[in-house]
Symmetry: C2
Subunit: 224 residues, 2 copies
């Protein structure tokens, strides 16, 4: 094979990893919105579908891992490409764990559906909405190598953190006023925490993207 | 340089990654036991030290990441060695997040210390003890390529999960009986969840080790 042909093959490999990651990201975003829908509409059938769908996310993780290892072994990439592939390996782990969080939301939703509703959800839909956007933008930042977008994701994280704290405070007052609400409040609190963890994973991805592009590490340093 | 010399250098590189990972693991184990000690002895100074120490874990993550990238770029390893290095990249991420959980326990401990004690801790020390062992064994399984030990870690995870569920149930009954305990119960519940997440990270590491050694993926399939 001539050099140009090899080069083209390598580009194809990178594009395949890129598009598989975006596909996995899209599936994870769908899981987040379905988990929210199941919660808002008290739809246990949909919650079951979200729980079952986690297998598909796990399958994709293994598929992308294998592809990355194959490219590392066959093409022996250097510098930027190497950083791209090792980062892809880390990102799939975050995506897979976002899938786990959606599955957890699905499970709590089913439990909540066995009891009367506590109150209309206001902050949870906002958190889920933003968490989904953060995941999408973190992956876009990855495939485009867009540091500005990645920095935006890092900044947005504090907004979700605030909503989660606000949520906890509100649920605490419910529980103190009426102990009968404790069991439900704890489950809703758990869902709020799951969404916060999803946004943490998106932030982890964004921080790693900034690392990849700039070649220096902003992880574990203040961003805002 | 002759081939043998290159080979020796490569071995040195792998050994360096191996020993740095074990060093990071040791530091993380120390964080877990210090976080527990700070909780049991109501020692906010130690809790502050645990929180501050998270920086050291973050620093080590970046150091090991860089070393792995360097080895991938310079030595272009194949097959088993490649799998080892890419796995090391994933494992440091888990270790770093265990550090985050210890920091979270430190923060909750400080808040708990502002209020009178709720009850003597029984299950939390057991969870912390087992979580620490799981982290140690998962890393030992990694450096030794020991599948049996990795399988043991995966099995132990369900024990911690059970303790966490038991803990939640007990705290729930406290809260229902006496709403004044709600705020403290929620914080203790959070600490219990942090320990459960630490054991999840150890399990993730163990599952990846089995994958590395067997070359096939037991992640996301039943183990016990």
């Amino acid at each position: 094979m001539d050099k140009q042909h090899l080069h083209r093959q390598f580009d194809n490999d990178l594009n395949e990893i890129r598009s598989k990651l975006l596909e996995m990201g899209g599936k994870v975003e769908k899981m987040i919105s379905d988990a929210l829908k199941a919660l808002l509409e008290r739809d246990s059938v949909l919650a079951d579908q979200v729980i079952a769908y986690d297998h598909e996310i796990n399958r994709m993780e293994m598929e992308i891992d294998e592809k990355c290892l194959e490219v590392l072994a066959m093409r022996q990439p250097a510098a930027r490409d190497l950083r791209f592939i090792t980062l892809a390996l880390k990102i799939v782990t975050d995506l897979e764990r976002i899938g786990d969080q959606c599955r957890n939301i699905g499970k709590s939703t089913k439990e909540l559906n066995d009891e009367p509703p506590l109150k209309p959800f206001i902050d949870i839909p906002r958190m889920a909405h933003w968490a989904g956007i953060m995941v999408k933008e973190a992956l876009d930042a990855f495939v485009e190598g867009d540091v500005d977008l990645a920095l935006k994701v890092c900044r947005d994280d504090s907004f979700i953190d605030e909503l989660n704290v606000q949520m906890q405070r509100e649920l605490l007052s419910f529980m103190i006023e009426d102990p009968k609400t404790i069991s439900r409040s704890i489950k809703i609190n758990y869902i709020s925490k799951c969404l916060e963890r999803i946004s943490d994973h998106a932030t982890n991805i964004a921080e790693m993207v900034i690392f990849m592009v700039n070649g220096k590490d902003i992880r574990h340093t203040a961003v805002s």
